[in-house]
Symmetry: C2
Subunit: 364 residues, 2 copies
Amino acid sequence: MDSSLVEEALKRGKARREEYPGHRYVRFCDDMRDVPRGTVVFDDTMIWGYPQIGRILSLEIGLREHYAGPFWMEEKIDGYNVRIFRHRDEILALSRGGFICPFTTDRVADLMDTGFFEEHPDVVVCAEVAGPDNPYLAVSPPFVARDVALFVFDMLRVNEPGFISLEEKHTLLARHGLPAVSHFGMFSHQDWDAIKALLARLNDEGREGVVLKSESPRVHRAKYITSSASINDIRSSMSSLHEMPAEFFVNRVLRLAFYLEEEKVADTDAYYGKLGEALLAGLFEAIEQYRATHHVYHRHCCRFRRKENAELLIDFMSHRTREMQVIPRRLEKEGEFYVLEFDKVHPGMTGLISHLLRGGLLFD
Amino acid sequence: MDSSLVEEALKRGKARREEYPGHRYVRFCDDMRDVPRGTVVFDDTMIWGYPQIGRILSLEIGLREHYAGPFWMEEKIDGYNVRIFRHRDEILALSRGGFICPFTTDRVADLMDTGFFEEHPDVVVCAEVAGPDNPYLAVSPPFVARDVALFVFDMLRVNEPGFISLEEKHTLLARHGLPAVSHFGMFSHQDWDAIKALLARLNDEGREGVVLKSESPRVHRAKYITSSASINDIRSSMSSLHEMPAEFFVNRVLRLAFYLEEEKVADTDAYYGKLGEALLAGLFEAIEQYRATHHVYHRHCCRFRRKENAELLIDFMSHRTREMQVIPRRLEKEGEFYVLEFDKVHPGMTGLISHLLRGGLLFD
């Protein structure tokens, strides 16, 4: 670990010093050279950021283009990305952006066997956390009925940027019984019919899509998203329309068009209706919610082991962005958990709907 | 006219010097204090920019909010905005942004009786030019069958920022038989049923909407757009998705949601389908066009009196933005006109579709 790199990043504003009870660390808030955003440095330990994965919109030709040889297909889960590792005697979970996540850190022992790190103290577990009772997202996969679950999809080593080989990852997952993303097996682009059938099934089941991984020469990764995921994304984000970049919506329409075009879907009319409904019904709900409560918000509920971590989460979320306002509603002991309820208010969308319903003018 | 203002604007980059055969002028490319973007200065003559007009999304309450007294309703035309005036012995037409438009300037004598300026040399005619054979827009109102037509909606005076009173405008229009936007008469917010019926008719006829104007205290203007116009806008702009700000699409979805919400439209399903179709079928067309021609473009055709003006237009459009590429296809004398055909290629959308159809990755 090159300490001059960290000094340079801090000086150039590419990295910042962060604090978390008991920890001080440096977080890369931006890419710098080969160091991705989200990379963190604790003393002499560097946890590399999880790299961005490109998305394929034309799958059949994309597979031929990117994968001359075989590739693995794993399920892509609609949750939030964490990196879990041991620092001194503590198990910490980092968000994609490199913040210590108070919620995941609190619950990690419920989500996986943390004894894993006794044997593998240098391994960083990369996983998705998903479920209805999560503090960040309004969406959740259909197969997590309550609370949250963890789905491991990759492993790194402390101080090393590259992933552990897929084979070794599978061995470690199996040996320690870690919860992992569904693994659909190895395919090649000749298996197009089987791949198509798999994706049709995932789409019908309202699941998000797949990540393609090949071992050589540089663990080439790509992702592909089902059309139902594009539509669900739009629907669940309309109430934060003003907070999201407009490209978020436009990109999903583009994905959907390429999906329908490639699949030569016959009932495009049904998709026209679904897309229009996702956009408009999502807005109707936001307007209705505003009329009823004078706010546009999403209520989150999540369970903690330790009360302080719930308070840390509220504090963390309140300071993270001006684009939302966090209003705690309830923090109570229920059985073995502290249950936290809070509203994530979208101030931009609240203000916009309020202005427009009062007959206000829009200059666009 | 305060020449120190122009000097300051030039120094601060808020204005630029422009050239057009026989003319040198200064154009405000940005708002500066009370001078709007699009204002131009020829020697000691200042033509004020056409001000931005705010849009109402909740019409019933908006009318009550903004118009205590009566207001006029005029048709809003889906074309491009020009200001026409006499400078020395020439009639010139300025674009919204303040460029002399070679097309409108060439054709102005076909579009209105320019003898008007003999009698009123200090009047600036503000109008929309619309029709299928225009050089700028892919859309055209249903009631202009061929070529283009002019629709006057306001008048200014040279060197004065405010509009001529509505009454005087009507008198001048009538006396000189100038072509004008449809004028629906005077209303007050109590006439809500009649207003609603008028807008329903405009919507059914595929027309864009209305501009509301009141005389006092500051000629308060606002506009309201029909739902069919929002949908048409989206449909006709999908082929330049990559060139347009994503907000363009999102704003129109928002307008549509407020329209449906206010009107308590019963068959929202039909609108879901129409909106989804505008988005997706627009993209399918762009993909199909790319497959057939390796470009995403719109072909424009327009008629000129003088060949040099057609060449000026091509030159003007080629230099105006990097976001489109202008490819002349034909310039031929046909009867009394020079007919120009050119393709406006969308290089961003062409590149994006090409990349995605080859299986390329998208990092978003």
